[in-house]
């Protein structure tokens, strides 16, 4: 929380070439003609909310959708018009990373690219309805490196229907071979209501037991390769293997540390002090409203201090560093903590709370029991 303005800015670019079955983000397929109007609308929203931002931003994050799918001239206009920040990240689908795009990003202050690789197996990419191919990930990484981008993150998904242990092993090896600075590895969630849950839900339930060990395997492989397991699903190269750099994703770290952030674009969420709002998900209404110089329709949520304290606890326990309990006392279920400590899942040390390694594997259930 900051009274001097949010230091994290998120910009949502909803356009996708096609919609992946498992995705539940706000996305729009096609509509190339609308890129210009959308960028204009984003910049309009920025002007309306500029007062909420700190004079100097720590991070800027362009997420999607597929941000790199937007017309290059519009992407350039957007990047040029957004405020500068210490870390500028963009999400990219591997197949969209051309040499020109890589150059455009590098020339426009982007210094971190998160590549949605998900898997290096064709048949698993097909299950996920991804358009990329295993070789396009490698090609994208090389092109970005050639353009001078020095911080690359690779997204992997595990627990895909039909994924055998050997497939996971090879996905991890392929990703490590590209020497990324950062890896995000998520277990696939078949969110209710998605097409994917409908098509594969039963299969996922069937293989749930077999896949229990996958999370442990991911953590063991990546930590064994010199990565720091700094958040439940995120890993970064240790400083000793990275020229002393702290390669944690600073933007996301802002979320986990409970910082304020401003989100621009359809469906984007902002959290500033005791309020959180989500822009309505309709692209047409978003552009039309902003074209008229007005704020987009929003869903507002009040966040009284106890709620923010609960969230700080929930988010902070995802990290590998102990959480300072100062100010969070009321959010904490003390007897619950005692039971978890007895079970060897959590450790309290003075005013600091940390989860043990096993506690982190059970972080969801542990957190549910720690919340008052």
């Amino acid at each position: 929380m900051s009274t001097t303005g949010a230091r994290h800015l998120y910009v949502h670019l909803p356009f996708c070439a096609s919609r992946c079955g498992y995705c539940d983000f706000v996305t729009v397929v096609g509509r190339d003609g609308e890129h210009e109007r959308y960028v204009t609308a984003l910049l309009g929203e920025l002007e309306l909310e500029r007062d909420l931002l700190a004079p100097r931003l720590e991070t800027l994050y362009l997420g999607g959708g597929t941000p790199t799918l937007i017309r290059p001239d519009e992407l350039e206009r957007l990047l040029a018009s957004l405020p500068t920040a210490d870390e500028v990240t963009i999400e990219a689908n591997p197949e969209t990373v051309t040499r020109d795009l890589a150059a455009l990003l590098a020339q426009n202050r982007v210094d971190r690219v998160s590549i949605g690789a998900q898997s290096f197996h064709m048949h698993l990419l097909d299950v996920l309805e991804r358009r990329s191919r295993p070789e396009s990930v490698r090609r994208a990484v090389h092109r970005l490196r050639d353009a001078g981008i020095g911080n690359i993150s690779i997204d992997l998904i595990y627990g895909i229907p039909g994924q055998e242990p050997a497939h996971l092993e090879r996905d991890l090896a392929e990703a490590l071979a590209l020497e990324p600075e950062h890896v995000s590895a998520y277990e696939l969630e078949a969110k209710p209501g998605t097409r994917f849950a409908h098509a594969h839900g039963a299969e996922l339930v069937r293989q749930a037991d077999a896949m229990e060990s996958y999370f442990e395997h991911v953590v063991e492989t990546l930590t064994g390769a010199g990565y720091r397991w700094y958040e439940t699903a995120n890993f970064c190269r240790r400083p000793e293997y990275a020229g002393g750099r702290d390669l944690r994703a600073r933007h996301n770290l802002g979320y986990w540390l409970g910082h304020d952030y401003l989100g621009l674009g359809v469906g984007a969420v902002s959290t500033i002090e005791n309020r959180r709002w989500r822009n309505a998900p309709s692209l047409a209404r978003y552009t039309a409203t902003l074209a008229a110089g007005e704020r987009p329709a929003r869903e507002l949520e009040e966040l009284p201090p106890p709620v923010r304290a609960s969230e700080r606890l929930m988010l902070g326990l995802r990290l590998d560093e102990p959480l300072a309990l100062d100010g969070l006392e009321d959010a904490l279920d003390e007897p619950g903590l005692d039971r978890l400590a007895d079970a060897g899942l959590a450790v309290r040390n003075g005013g600091m709370l940390a989860l043990t390694r096993r506690g982190r594997f059970l972080g969801g259930g542990v957190t549910a029991r720690l919340l008052a």
Partner: protein, 598 residues
């Protein structure tokens, strides 16, 4: 003007559920113009909502009708095995009974039980075959069965359709012609049998009585002879079908007495009312206290509802003297009540009334029976909950029943197998007709309370009918099986079983519990034990992962709500030895026989 006893007829209708007792009663009220067609409501006598819905009569009532210069009192009887004692009291108030049998179904176990009761009470039985309008009716076969049962000629069996009204006037004529008039002494000190009572929140306990001797007068001081309760008859009268106050009820008449008593337990069915001024020397025979035989723990799902549950039980008890309850504390389920019932239907009715009339969310533990036990070197005591059975004892006894089962002959084998599995002792087999067999068995009540009736129905494709009466306590080779979760005994899951079945039941229960208890953050042992000896064990393996995969700026609210929901779910679970046990697990014993070959 005093009514001549010669013109009075008191009768009951006895029938199996759905054989048309209530419809016949309705038709009698109509035909005698006791109620006008406009006032007519189907099943008028079944006044409680639940009774109407279930199509059964729980509380007996009496209605007076006029027919050809005679006063006919129809005393309604409860139609279920749990209320046998009430039925017997109702029958004792009569000189005759209509035995109603469905023309398509023939005699059922309940028909038999009640017919025997009527015969034991020396009632004149008027056999009636009902539903002759149904296409599948076989009045000849049904008439032959009934005639055979009561030793009468088939020609004497009346054939009617209560639904259409066909033959109902002949039934009324037969009541007048065949059922004897009451023969009490109108000049003797008053004696009136209480055959039912109900509770009116403004007027207190209302007793339904049959005056046997003498006269009961309004505003007279009366006394219940067995319990000694004294009160003034604030009002007396008869039902027709509304309450009609009169100055006096004479020998032979049936009616009600408004007592002003505030507690139904002060006045018991079966007791005799007499006058304080000129009391009778001896009460009418047959009073006994009904004792609950089936017990279960009732716990509020939300422990904050405990006071509401207590108040609700107090109110229910006001018009259900057979209901028994005492506070019970379970380490697993918290504060609740140990309740005693006459039988399973009684339990089901109480539970439904608590949930429906008092809007309570209840957890009802698996029912068990009452046990008599003689602890080492101590006196006999009665135990109502398995956890209370001491580890060491000299002897233990369990209640037995005499079961009466009527079944088509092709299912006899299945019924015998079931009874043998449940420690039944074969008693008697008899062909009622070429197709239908009447079997009697002696069985431990404890083997009946869980799912015997369901099993009987499913193994005979619904054709078996079942009734029982209690046959007293008998010694049993019984043991208490305890269930331990993470090493801690869970009182609410203890059960008492025959030693021959202890291992099998214990194993089935821990297997069932392994399915019901969700995986925790550590391995959880579930054990069954007799005393210190473990007889079965299962393990719920610890979870290896439980994380919310992604959590970024746009996800936080949703993830927080997810955790809050999880948290609320945990609150509804009971903590046993650090293990979160869902409430459903405590009902595992109820479903023990699901899918198990028995």
């Amino acid at each position: 003007m005093p009514m001549d006893q010669q013109l009075i007829r008191n009768f009951s209708i006895i029938a199996h559920i759905d054989h048309g007792k209530s419809t016949l009663a309705d038709r009698i009220l109509q035909l005698t113009e006791t109620v006008s067609a406009r006032e007519m409501r189907d099943q008028l006598l079944d006044s409680m909502e639940l009774e109407r819905e279930r199509g059964i009569t729980i509380k007996a009532q009496a209605v007076r009708v006029q027919w050809k210069g005679h006063e006919l009192n129809l005393i309604d009887t409860p139609g279920h095995v749990d209320f046998t004692y009430e039925v017997s009291r109702s029958l004792q108030a009569c000189e005759g009974a209509l035995l109603v049998v469905d023309a398509a179904q023939g005699i059922e176990a309940q028909t038999l039980a009640n017919a025997y009761l009527a015969i034991e009470n020396d009632l004149e039985i008027v056999p009636v075959v009902n539903k002759i309008d149904l296409p599948q009716a076989d009045p000849d076969a049904a008439s032959a069965e009934v005639a055979d049962l009561i030793g009468d000629a088939a020609d004497n069996v009346l054939r009617i359709s209560a639904k259409t009204g066909q033959g109902v006037d002949a039934v009324l004529d037969a009541i007048v012609e065949r059922i004897p008039a009451p023969a009490g002494d109108p000049t003797a000190p008053p004696r009136a049998l209480i055959f039912d009572s109900s509770y009116d929140q403004y007027r207190g306990v209302v007793a339904f009585v049959r005056v046997v001797d003498g006269v009961l007068r309004a505003r007279e001081q009366l006394r219940a002879m067995a319990l000694g309760t004294r009160f003034e008859a604030q009002e007396i009268g008869f039902m027709s079908p509304a309450m009609r106050p009169v100055e006096e009820l004479q020998a032979g008449e049936v009616g009600y007495v408004v007592t002003g008593l505030k507690d139904v337990s002060e006045l018991r069915v079966g007791d005799t009312l007499t006058g304080e001024k000129r009391p009778a020397a001896a009460p009418l025979p047959g009073y006994k206290e009904v004792k609950p035989m089936v017990f279960a723990g009732l716990f509020p799902t939300d422990s904050d509802d405990y006071p509401e549950l207590r108040d609700a039980l107090e109110k229910l008890k006001l018009n259900d003297a057979a209901l028994f309850y005492e506070p019970e504390t379970s380490q697993a389920l918290g504060f609740g009540f140990r309740c005693g019932f006459l039988g399973l239907l009684h339990m089901e009715i109480v539970r439904e009334r608590l949930e429906r009339e008092f809007d309570l969310d209840l957890l009802v533990t698996a029912p068990n029976v009452a046990y008599r036990v003689k602890p080492l070197n101590e006196e006999w005591v009665e135990v109502h909950t398995p956890a209370d059975l001491p580890d060491a004892f000299d002897e233990v006894e369990e209640p037995y029943i005499r079961a009466s089962i009527i079944v088509p002959k092709e299912h006899v084998g299945a019924v015998m197998e079931l009874c043998n599995d449940r420690r039944g002792k074969f008693d008697h087999l008899e062909y009622l007709s070429e197709q239908r067999v009447h079997l009697t068995y002696e069985l431990p009540l404890g083997e009946i309370v869980l799912d015997f009736y369901d099993q009987l129905k499913s193994r005979t494709r619904g054709y078996a009918s079942f009734d029982y009466d209690l046959a007293g306590f008998r010694a049993g080779n019984l043991a208490r099986v305890d269930i331990l979760v993470a090493g801690e005994p869970v009182d609410a899951l203890s059960l008492i079983v025959h030693r021959d079945f202890a291992y099998e039941r214990g194993k089935m229960l821990v297997e069932k519990l392994r399915e019901e208890i969700p995986r925790q953050m550590f391995d959880v042992a579930i054990q069954a034990a007799i005393g210190a000896r473990i007889i079965a064990r299962e393990t719920v393996k610890a979870r290896r992962k439980d994380v919310l995969a992604k959590c970024y700026g746009g996800d936080i609210t949703r993830k927080r709500k997810l955790l809050e929901k999880q948290k609320a779910g945990k609150k509804r679970m009971k903590q046993v030895g650090g293990v979160e046990v869902p409430q459903e697990a405590f009902l595992a014993v109820l479903n023990l026989n699901d899918g198990a070959k028995r």
